[in-house]
């Protein structure tokens, strides 16, 4: 018996011993991030089609910037490199997608530094950051360089319908805001052709947010791969639809219709890719629903009454900040506990 023991040690490699379970679903963080990257490919292709070189330039600048900053930070902290989990790549792509095409490369790199160094690695890296890094990067740029971040050159694009179309020098939301502020009227009526343009991406905006179609395709992929649940995007988009529908029904001469709000700005990008960021959104399904509703309300409040034409980034950051509270409030009733909610002790 003692002999068996000796044999075990000397003749075989040591066995692995751990607590149960000894089986695993096989999913890991790297694969999830890879799936997110794959889901972003359609939007990237559309961006390349409409913005050409700028889309490629910004995406590469941000991805390289984020990965490099992540590696540098990890090294400076004396920790494992940890760039293999691809989360920095995702942050980079999302940050680039949230930038206007004309912004200089160095600004994109500054955004990447803030996104990774200040919003993520200072907290200890993936899993610890309370705010979505890409959005922090965008908002820092938006506040620091408001002109560059809202400058949209007029450009001519080959429309997918076949004709050549001129695109105005502002985003649809920006146009609505300035028009309402200056003349108190809506800039244009929202017809089917405009809607189609905005659905496909033939409109002005940040490079990754213009094409609702491509983003929805990516969202469908993420749902199919079980990377996200439907709760956050559905409640987010649904809330925006309901909120804008009410405003529109009350006063159609000063409010754009709900389908405009769904297609305009960064809503699709935000709802599908940013609000669903695992680290900074709630863990419970109920919490995800609350999170989505909150994002929707805040987005519409800022779009309607705020100083900025677009509120998606701020809305998601604000909801990020109350994610811990949502988690706390939406803990499910534990099996075998009374139906009544147990009061939070002390």
């Amino acid at each position: 018996m003692a002999e068996t023991e000796t044999k075990t040690v000397e003749n075989e490699a040591l066995r692995i011993v751990s607590t149960s379970p000894h089986a695993h679903s096989g999913s890991d963080v790297q694969h999830i991030m890879l799936d997110v990257i794959i889901a972003l490919v359609p939007a990237f292709l559309v961006a390349c089609f409409f913005f050409g070189w700028d889309a490629i330039r910004l995406t590469f600048a941000c991805v390289l910037g984020c990965v490099a900053v992540e590696a540098l930070c990890r090294k400076a902290m004396g920790r494992d490199l940890g760039i293999a989990d691809l989360s920095a790549v995702v942050t980079g792509i999302l940050l680039a997608f949230n930038l206007p095409p004309s912004i200089p490369t160095w600004m994109a790199v500054v955004g990447s530094v803030f996104a990774i160094a200040v919003a993520k690695q200072v907290f200890g890296g993936i899993g610890y950051n309370p705010f979505n890094p890409a959005l922090v990067g965008r908002v820092v740029l938006l506040i620091s360089f408001p002109v560059a971040m809202t400058r949209w050159s007029q450009w001519t694009i080959p429309s997918p319908i076949g004709t050549v179309d001129a695109v105005t020098s502002a985003t649809p939301l920006g146009l609505v805001k300035t028009s309402l502020l200056s003349s108190g009227t809506l800039p244009y009526s929202f017809d089917n052709a405009t809607m189609l343009q905005m659905f496909t991406g033939a409109t002005n905006g940040c490079i990754g947010e213009v094409s609702a179609a491509a983003l929805l395709l990516g969202g469908a992929y993420l749902l199919w791969r079980r990377c996200i649940t439907w709760h956050t995007p559905a409640f987010y988009i649904g809330t925006v639809a309901v909120f804008s529908a009410i405003l529109w029904a009350v006063d159609p001469s000063h409010n754009m219709p709900p389908h405009f709000h769904l297609l305009a700005g960064g809503l699709m990008l935000g709802a599908i890719f940013m609000a669903t960021d695992m680290v900074t959104s709630p863990v419970t399904l109920k919490g995800m629903a609350v999170f989505g509703i909150g994002c929707g309300v805040l987005t519409m409040v800022i779009r309607k009454w705020g100083g900025y034409p677009e509120g998606v980034s701020f809305a998601i950051l604000l909801m990020n900040s109350i994610t811990p509270l949502i988690n706390r409030a939406t803990r499910p009733r534990v099996f075998g506990h009374a139906r009544k909610k147990t009061p939070d002790k002390k």
Binding site: E5, T6, T8, V9, L14, R15, I16, V17, S18, T19
Partner: protein
């Protein structure tokens, strides 16, 4: 002008003062002032070594519940004297005891029996198939004691074993309580020579599990007399009796587990 100023400020002060005085009177809370004073005397490390949640609680326990005054290990003799004087009792401080990890089997000397995959915590590791160290009484080296230590006096060496720095130890016993293998003991601070093994197993078993284990040969008892005693197959130091011929005992120990702890090496 000056009159107005004086009246205004003075009047307001008077009104506020009267209101507060009434509030203080009607909402008064009786509190033994000695608790606060005694808390001041205690070291304020809030280490919990006394068994109460922090110095304030201990002070309360002494005054309200009449707890022992000798429980504050970090305070040492000086603070004990102060407490005793404050409470008007007599108490004698023994010699300060410090913690020591009675195991010398690091990764180079004591093999592991399996590849443990899990939480890096001794209590967690000990609960998984009995711990991965081949010796059942060996230090697992996952640092539960080091994390429990309020003053960072315990270090996990590069070779995977816990070592207490006696000069930093405040004697709070938290590590003693947390070690799942019960191999940390309190020893008088002045003593430097210890039996660095806690295995009560028979010699052959110890030999297989560790190069520096006590095999129960009794040579230390033979050469060191009453300064050592046997606990089954394990030799233990009897700290009451000093070792006469320390070098011989250290030299004779076949397991090399009787070691004089060098202060400089530990510091």
């Amino acid at each position: 002008m000056i009159v107005a100023t004086t009246v205004a400020i003075g009047g307001m002060g008077l009104v506020c003062g009267v209101a507060l005085a009434m509030a203080a009177r009607f909402l008064a809370v009786h509190e033994d002032p000695r608790v606060e004073e005694l808390t001041e005397i205690l070291p304020g490390a809030n280490c919990g070594g006394c068994g109460f949640a922090g110095c304030g609680e201990y002070a309360k326990a002494i005054i309200v519940d009449g707890a022992e005054v000798t429980l504050c290990a970090p305070g040492g003799a000086e603070i004990l004297d102060n407490i005793a004087a404050f409470m008007g009792v007599e108490a004698e401080a023994g010699e300060k005891h410090v913690a020591i990890v009675l195991c010398g089997g690091d990764n180079a000397k004591a093999p592991r029996r399996f590849d443990y995959n899990g939480v890096a915590d001794c209590n967690a590791a000990h609960a998984v198939d009995g711990g991965d160290k081949k010796c059942n009484h060996g230090c697992l080296g996952y640092g539960s004691c080091a994390r429990a230590c309020p003053v960072e006096a315990i270090e996990i060496t590069g070779t995977g074993i816990a070592v207490v720095h006696p000069e930093l130890c405040i004697g709070c016993r938290k590590c003693v309580k947390t070690c799942p293998r019960f191999i940390i003991e309190m020893v008088p601070e002045s003593q430097a020579t210890h039996v660095f093994c806690s295995s009560k197993d028979k010699g052959p078993i110890v030999k297989k599990a560790c190069q520096v284990g006590c095999i129960g040969c009794r040579l230390c008892v033979k050469f060191g007399g009453e300064s050592f005693e046997m606990d089954g197959f394990l030799a233990r130091r009897n700290y009451e009796t000093p070792i006469e011929d320390e070098d011989t005992v250290i030299d004779k120990c076949p397991g090399d587990c009787i070691v004089r702890q060098e202060k400089s090496a530990a510091g």
